[in-house]
Amino acid sequence: MTRNVLIAGLLVLLGVAFWTLTMGYAPDAELNRTAAYYAQNVGREIGAPNVVTAIIITWRGLDTLGEVTVLFLTSSIVALVLAQSKAPKGASGSGFLPSGELLTTGTRMLIPLIALLGAYVLANGHLTPGGGFQGGAILASGVLLALLADPGRRFGHALIARIESVAGLAYVGLGLLGMLIAGGFLDNKVLPLGQFGAMLSAGIIPIISVLIGLKVGSEFASILSSLEETEDA
């Protein structure tokens, strides 16, 4: 009884807090100082039509490196914990129900399309919405679909780990290169800005977003496949 009263009271408090927040909200008439700087200088300094990706990869590049590191730690820890109960080759997956004709056929048709969309989102991160993280998640959902259709399938862990570490090293290496020949760590001016709106433009943004995408995709894929390969205790 008291528990229900407490829950109701907390809910009412939360509702009041959200209500006052919503009612007191007035949209800003103009961008604040940082945002105005970004919006004004993105064309001249970065040369990317997609302002969001430009901010994420160049001005806030260090934050993105941190995010990718957090994801890397997560996938390493998942692999470390689950490696204790790793199933012998071919042993796991026997207890799965067959996945069905619809899923198997649909997967065969969809995986190339998903991979293509992922590659498109990666390569056009500086032009259209999306970028490294989104493209990587799309690639990983293709891996997920393959695992759903055929739970016994094994992915080469060595290959995934190699893609992951090469992408990570190249990302940091590009950042250091920026310190050597441009304005600082992860500076965009390592490569020329090129023509505004062209496929190969905006400095190193396309390269970095492809690297981030490969890294994120292989991290998610490694989490999913280590979850799949554990032995039933």
Partner: protein
Amino acid sequence: MTLTLAMALILALASLAAAGVALATRSRATAVLAAGLLSLFASVLFVLLAAPDVAMTEAAIGSGLTTFLFFFVMGRIRREGRK
């Protein structure tokens, strides 16, 4: 403007309904699906609010990967319970 507002309101109500279903239902599979649906509504709302980048992440991770991760783990628990 009013059309956007109406769509946002409908989406918000639908998200609330999906969250309610996820909380109230007795079936675990329905709850997971309702949570995924909530994510999907949220990602459409992000598109309406002119944030397509966030919407893509939400759709791929929130309603795609997480939902299937839940089903993965639920299937594993069920198989282990059967032993």
